[in-house]
Symmetry: D2
Subunit: 93 residues, 4 copies
């Protein structure tokens, strides 16, 4: 199934992901340079929080876009909600 992100959301998501890529590279560098593990753990927590924000933004765009469209359609969107809850299980555990 294809999807069309709003141009602005797309740009925001790609910029966030670019920053996360940089964070991951920074963590590798810290480990290569034998930096103190607690400092590395703080950076891993920061990258994880940034990734969670990407997930939340995607949940938001998905609900406003596909879910809303499906719920307003004749089919009623039951499947789209099943799918949404299914993926939510991967985040809340």
């Amino acid at each position: 199934m294809a999807n069309e992100y709003r141009q602005q959301d797309k740009q925001e998501l790609l910029e966030r992901l670019k920053r996360i890529e940089g964070q991951i590279r920074g963590i590798s560098r810290m480990i290569e340079e034998d930096q103190y593990c607690v400092d590395v753990l703080v950076q891993v927590a920061a990258a994880r929080a940034a990734l969670n924000k990407v997930g939340l933004k995607l949940f938001e765009d998905h609900t406003r876009g596909c879910v809303a469209r499906a719920l307003r359609s004749k089919e009623g969107g039951g499947e789209v909600i099943d799918e949404l809850i299914d993926v939510l299980h991967r985040y809340i555990k």
Copy 2:
């Protein structure tokens, strides 16, 4: 404070981080190509789980290394435990 990772742990961590970097780039590509948001959400969850494993590996190495050393030293390691619990708060919330 400096730190010395065991060579094998270091290699394992760097490989995991390399894979995560690839996962993040893959997610950017999916968004650029307007792939279905639920599929993107599944990949974000996978990158997040991989990052958690890096965190857990660092906690393990840190406990076996710095924490153990500090607890066996004359000073008793009280501060090192404060620091460990402090960073744990960023992961469990």
Copy 3:
């Protein structure tokens, strides 16, 4: 704003919560009896997982109920989605 849970969902949620209450009392007992902290930590993790399932069930019922209704209404449900994403932030962090 009032809400009406489907009778079956309500029953299921109340039973889950009853069990969690029992789990919490069990944890208190373990601590009173000075049981080994790792065993207590395992039980706390179990209660936490059970509570997450209650949260997920509520998200599901809410999306199928209130969110679906709002999205199909004339107003379009924008506010209901804001609210949903807002509460999701408390679970994914």
Copy 4:
């Protein structure tokens, strides 16, 4: 294996758990009274955060107590660390 919590930590943990029990009962009441699901979700998130704090307190007491003792003993505490990391996996996922 038995364990001895410091009296003050024990009291603090039992009080926190008592409050969580009350929170769980409050959530059941909200559902019985058909209160709005987003309000219920906020209370579930609060109980979950309170339970996480109990977990963190237990991790702290365990590290300061059993882990420290084991690491200072002749056996070196390798097993105690395995066990600690193992239970940490249940919290970070």
